[in-house]
């Protein structure tokens, strides 16, 4: 009975989704395109999307675009999963995965964009070099490009210049040894070095991912995802140990494992902690806050290890993309591609960057003249990145890895050893990675 009630909610959710996420012919023989992103509500980016969609419909009266975007992550994922399970895939949608898209690609849920991109060279060339390759799933058994990169989330360490000065740190850390020195100086000055909301396990996960990138590089992370490397390999265990050792060095506040992300941000924006490890979308979020230390905030790239100089220039950049449904009719496909191209013109991308300070994976897009310096610096820094890598689990088809590894890392910070954590993660991969 109880489970029946749970199923009822699913059935109702399905019914609601069916009514909205179906790409089909709209009223008056208009071709309907369903657009589903995580940008909705009153956010600046959501407003730009709404404006762009409205203008597109004005210019294309035979196409009706239905914006089904949902900001809240769980609600978005639930709606998308119900739509996929009922065969009502939205025309354009977002999903945070790369290798995890393989099964969808192999079963025709996603459109292979290779031909469409090849047919419009100018459009193809507008993407940053290497950006489209992010969604090339050939290495996982699905030949083709199955999404269009839309935004770049560039990882960095954001720091409070005033607190650095107070602790006597004159230069931003370039190497991990510099970072360890900075941690020591901050601790000696009675300042908590890093704000970490450990309860939101992705926070520690991001720190570990940066360490992994700087020690085993892009190739190593991809090999970890494809199974050529194992989590129990010495160099991966070493990365876990380095992450754990940060706690021993006093890098994090007492009780950080139980704090949430909001507390972490509050600590940073009130000048309570000196650093946070985050990515570029935090810039507009910080600037929209009423923090009094905004002028003191800057960032530096995650430091490298002097014994691994070969990975000095490997930087963590999370790409977020647009997936296109592979189950549409020719008419719907044509309308959808028209909309996607419209939204990836230089003007459209520039408009979104100007309004919402999002770093985009397109050429010739500059930060606006009146943008805050920190954002201009971020755009400039992004332009210097030639070797980037995403999250380690992006390259793995094991869907449980994200939770198992992040929970494992948090447990390691509390009590487990690096070796046990690696063994637990590897066991999960062995049990759950599709063969």
């Amino acid at each position: 009975m109880r489970k029946g009630k749970a199923m009822l909610s699913v059935a109702l959710a399905a019914a609601m989704t069916l009514g909205s996420a179906v790409p089909a012919l709209a009223d008056g023989d208009k071709t309907k395109v369903v657009f589903m992103s995580r940008d909705s509500g009153d956010t600046p980016i959501a407003k730009v999307y709404e404006d762009q969609i409205a203008r597109f419909m004005e210019e294309n009266p035979d196409i009706e675009v239905q914006n089904d975007s949902i900001y809240e992550e769980a609600a978005y994922n639930n709606k998308l999963k119900v739509a996929l399970s009922t065969g009502e895939t939205p025309s354009i949608f977002y999903y945070p995965a790369i290798a995890g898209l393989t099964e969808w690609a192999q079963n025709g849920v996603l459109l292979d964009l290779t031909d469409s991109l090849d047919a419009d060279q100018e459009w193809k060339d507008s993407f940053l070099d290497g950006a489209l390759e992010t969604y090339d799933l050939s290495a996982y058994g699905a030949d083709g490009i199955y999404a269009l990169p839309n935004e770049l989330n560039v990882d960095a360490i954001f720091y409070n210049k005033a607190l650095f000065e107070k602790a006597g740190i004159t230069e931003t850390p370039q190497t991990m040894d510099d970072l360890y020195d900075a941690i020591d100086k901050l601790v000696a000055a009675g300042i908590t070095p890093f704000g970490v909301g450990g309860k939101n396990t992705w926070v520690m996960g991001h720190i570990f991912n940066n360490i992994l990138a700087k020690r085993i590089g892009r190739e190593g992370i991809i090999k970890l995802g494809t199974g050529e490397k194992k989590w129990t390999d010495e160099d991966v265990v070493e990365c876990l140990q380095i992450t754990k050792d940060l706690k021993e060095k006093g890098a994090f506040a007492e009780g950080f494992e139980g704090m949430d992300y909001n507390t972490q941000m509050n600590q940073f924006l009130t000048g309570e902690v000196a650093m946070i490890s985050h990515s570029s979308p935090i810039i507009p979020e910080m600037l929209n806050s009423e923090s009094e230390i905004l002028d003191d905030i800057s960032f530096f790239p995650f430091p490298y290890f002097t014994d691994k100089e070969e990975f000095k220039d490997t930087h963590v950049v999370y790409t977020s993309g647009w997936m296109i449904s592979g189950t549409m009719s020719d008419e719907e496909k044509e309308a959808t591609l028209k909309l996607v191209k419209y939204m990836t013109t230089k003007d459209a991308i520039q408009e979104r960057m100007d309004a919402a300070m999002r770093v985009a994976p397109y050429k010739d897009i500059d930060a606006p003249e009146d943008a805050p310096q920190i954002f201009k610096d971020m755009v400039e820094y992004t332009g210097t990145i030639s070797d980037s890598v995403g999250e380690y689990f992006d390259y793995d088809t094991c869907s449980t890895l994200v939770d198992t590894s992040r929970n494992g890392i948090l447990n390691m910070m509390l009590s487990d050893t690096a070796e046990d954590t690696a063994a637990t993660i590897q066991a999960d991969i062995d049990a759950n990675r599709p063969q």
Partner: protein, 298 residues
């Protein structure tokens, strides 16, 4: 009217909409879920179901995390039954005797029940905050009990009991109202007769109130059991990952992760079926156990 009441066709027609709704939204989903549990399916319509027999169940019962979730939910259920029903009914009995402030106390104890789980979780998040800034920790420090300061939701020794306390705080008002409703239906003459026979204090509760409130007590116990076996929201908000070392993981959270996050609909359905069977079994067993004692009719 009598004729209509005896006309089976009319009875059938009036019952039909309710039966159809019940079948569509209760029975069929349960049957479908059981069917899905014998298949592998990644949640994509384009991929056909793959029959795997009892494989999902075999995997489940050899999975340490699932077994831990069963252990957690059974502990959660037992402590909740022991806490929620007696505290709720105790409050009900207490408030019943305070006529002057009855309305105030009724509202005060019932308010947590009408608050959204998110608001409740946020509130308790401040209470359990892991540093000395947390309400509970700062209170302990003020009392000079610094040694008891804790990361309440992080420490595997305390996290589950912390969640049980939140659920208890939220629910006791509801059982208090059920108790009060039961108390108002007890005739004064029965209580007066009991008093004349020497039933006062604990004796009055033991020999008068408990037997007379047996049906509401039974119903409340079943509600606590079924409510806890499917508990998700409080656990998900306060310990989204299922706690340190899976100390607060429960089957419903695991089911959500398997079906919606990992795309393992077969495994998710198998967990849902286990929750369903467990709920039915424990509810029937509790009813049988509690039915041995006959309630007093008056």
């Amino acid at each position: 009217m009598e004729k209509i009441r005896k006309n089976k066709k009319i009875i059938f027609i009036f019952l039909l909409p309710a039966v159809l709704i019940y079948l569509c939204f209760e029975v069929i989903p349960v049957i479908m879920s059981i069917y899905f549990s014998f298949n592998d399916w990644p949640g994509i319509q384009a991929i056909p179901l793959k029959f795997v027999g009892l494989n999902n169940y075999k995997k489940l019962f050899s999975n340490g995390v699932f077994l831990q979730s069963l252990k957690n939910v059974l502990i959660y259920m037992m402590i909740s039954v022991v806490l929620q029903v007696p505290i709720g009914f105790g409050l009900g009995l207490l408030i019943h005797h305070f006529k002057k402030w009855q309305r105030f106390f009724k509202a005060a104890f019932f308010i947590p029940m009408i608050l959204s789980v998110t608001a409740v979780a946020l509130l308790w998040n401040f209470i359990y905050f892991p540093t000395e800034k947390g309400i509970l920790n700062s209170f302990l420090i003020k009392l000079g009990l610094d040694s008891l300061v804790h990361q309440w939701l992080v420490d595997p020794k305390t996290s589950l009991i912390c969640l049980i306390i939140v659920s208890t705080w939220t629910s006791v008002g509801y059982y208090m109202i059920i108790c009060l409703a039961g108390l108002t239906s007890i005739p004064d003459s029965v209580l007066e007769a009991g008093s004349l026979d020497g039933a006062t204090g604990w004796k009055k509760i033991r020999y008068l109130y408990i037997p007379m409130l047996w049906e509401p007590l039974k119903m409340s116990t079943i509600m606590v059991i079924t409510g806890v076996l499917k508990i998700f929201d409080t656990v998900y908000i306060l310990t989204p990952t299922g706690g340190t070392g899976n100390s607060t993981i429960v089957p419903a959270l695991l089911m959500y992760n398997e079906a919606y996050r990992y795309g393992h609909y077969g495994t998710g359905s198998a967990i849902a079926t286990v929750i369903f069977v467990l709920s039915a079994f424990v509810s029937i067993a509790s009813l049988k156990l509690m039915n041995r004692r006959e309630s007093i009719e008056y």
